[in-house]
Symmetry: C2
Amino acid sequence: MGLHRVVAPVGVLPQAAERLDASPELWPGEVRIRVERLNLDAASFRQLSDKHGDAVRAEVLAIIEARGKMHNPVTGSGGMLVGVVDEVTPESPLGLKPGDRVATLVSLTLTPLRITDGLARWDGHSEQVPAEGHAILFARSIAAVLPYDLPVPLALSVMDVCGAPALTQRVVTPGSVVAVIGAAGKSGSLSLAAARRAGAARLIGIVPHAREAEKLTTAGLADEVVIADARDPVALAAAVSQAGGPADVTVVCVDVPGCEHGSILATRDGGTVIFFSMATSFSAAALGAEGLAADVTMLVGNGYAPGHADLALDLLRSEPGVRGLFEGRLA
Amino acid sequence: MGLHRVVAPVGVLPQAAERLDASPELWPGEVRIRVERLNLDAASFRQLSDKHGDAVRAEVLAIIEARGKMHNPVTGSGGMLVGVVDEVTPESPLGLKPGDRVATLVSLTLTPLRITDGLARWDGHSEQVPAEGHAILFARSIAAVLPYDLPVPLALSVMDVCGAPALTQRVVTPGSVVAVIGAAGKSGSLSLAAARRAGAARLIGIVPHAREAEKLTTAGLADEVVIADARDPVALAAAVSQAGGPADVTVVCVDVPGCEHGSILATRDGGTVIFFSMATSFSAAALGAEGLAADVTMLVGNGYAPGHADLALDLLRSEPGVRGLFEGRLA
């Protein structure tokens, strides 16, 4: 877990730490990466850019220097990085070898990082930061080898949301009715494809407006494409019901607050709601189900499951509809 | 669900409504209760009392008058009520009959309520409010008939947390190792008893200090009683491990923030964490599991499950250790 790299305060996990030791010498179990690019978290880049303007480069360097990691103290977020494996200790369980080009799937907020080129090649206008330096992976870190057959931005964009299809595939059983809220988005389209693969009998894709509906219809990933406001519980439940619901499994992939009650109401008694949106309110979900006397299982979307990156990349390769939606977003 | 009682804004669920229609005439499916007592939510009472002092009675009356429900606009919380069933429409699925003394298990924030005695018998010094008036239950509301064999405060205090043992019993399988955080509390002790009944092989009760440890040891509900700070992930995981963990199922019942990472670390890969604490942060749980590469299922504790009140009361009756802890809290 990297506790030995925590400088202050002692005893907390690396993510909670104020400062990490980013020295290049490896402890048993660690891997060192030669950094090629940082992808700053969108919220973090926006905050830094708004506040520091042209001085954003100096500010990012100062944070990394002070903290031994790229952990924005205001937003609390980090991002991910791409690099090449430089050295692997024999005790590392990650299965990486020198020369592998990898993306880290754990946050930069817990990854020891040192920059050696002053970020000289970065213009400060994009969250994509060309960089030289090194980063450390722990035994419990996660990194995925980048596939040869896909452009790096496309692969990264899939890996960013690969927890959603993995958990969806686990939860959906053959013959189920599955509703996905935010179905034309990245995690939504992958979740639809994963549900189909798990044997779902009916896939209902919920989108907020006609433009998204058209995209999803073209992609051909859902049996029914429904336009509804997920923040309106009664309207959402009615729309899902009319499209063949209530759902056995409802997957919430849309990053707007206030979708808890609607997703609960759209799900049958004994069914499951999976919350992947970071805008989910724990208490709104818990009290909402109680207030509606809804006997539903509610899952916190875990961004990790064994094999999640491979599954998501495989869905992208095998489902032209998924690939089309992803490429459309990157265009 | 009571949409027909929503006056403003139109289309939202009763809990989200600014104002409900609390008139006594029943719609099909409804039940009318003659109110005897309101139990204000502790957070709500504290806020009202701090702000309004001796004028707290007038303020509570004003809220109920304006909103048609006891829904504190600052804290967003309500409470529950005790009363006697007055009239039941033939369409009601709740199984109540006139004369039943019941407690509502859904929040006052969604229960139409009218007060007729000006709360004249309430001194304003306690969240227990003697009251006359009526309240309305919908078809999807939940109310439990108060048992004859238990004092009303004891029964209420059990019903307040009855979702926790119900979900714990569902999730725990025979032979499991179960860790309960906040094990000497109300939901914690009931969860231990429910886990035992579900066939758990080893019960680990986590408490914050020696006084609670003594209480839990006396109650005899856990195989191991462990003192640990649940906000310190590494210490918690080590303590659970030493007591026979990692846990197959970890139940979080302690209402302090920052217990997400510790409960995840204390749980084995493939295990389950049930979050019952309203202090749980959705994003800390989701990102924490991802950052630790922890393959755990995380459940949002649902306060409702069919038969939850009966199960909890039955555990209280059959487990002297549970009853002792509850009576100790009320003394």
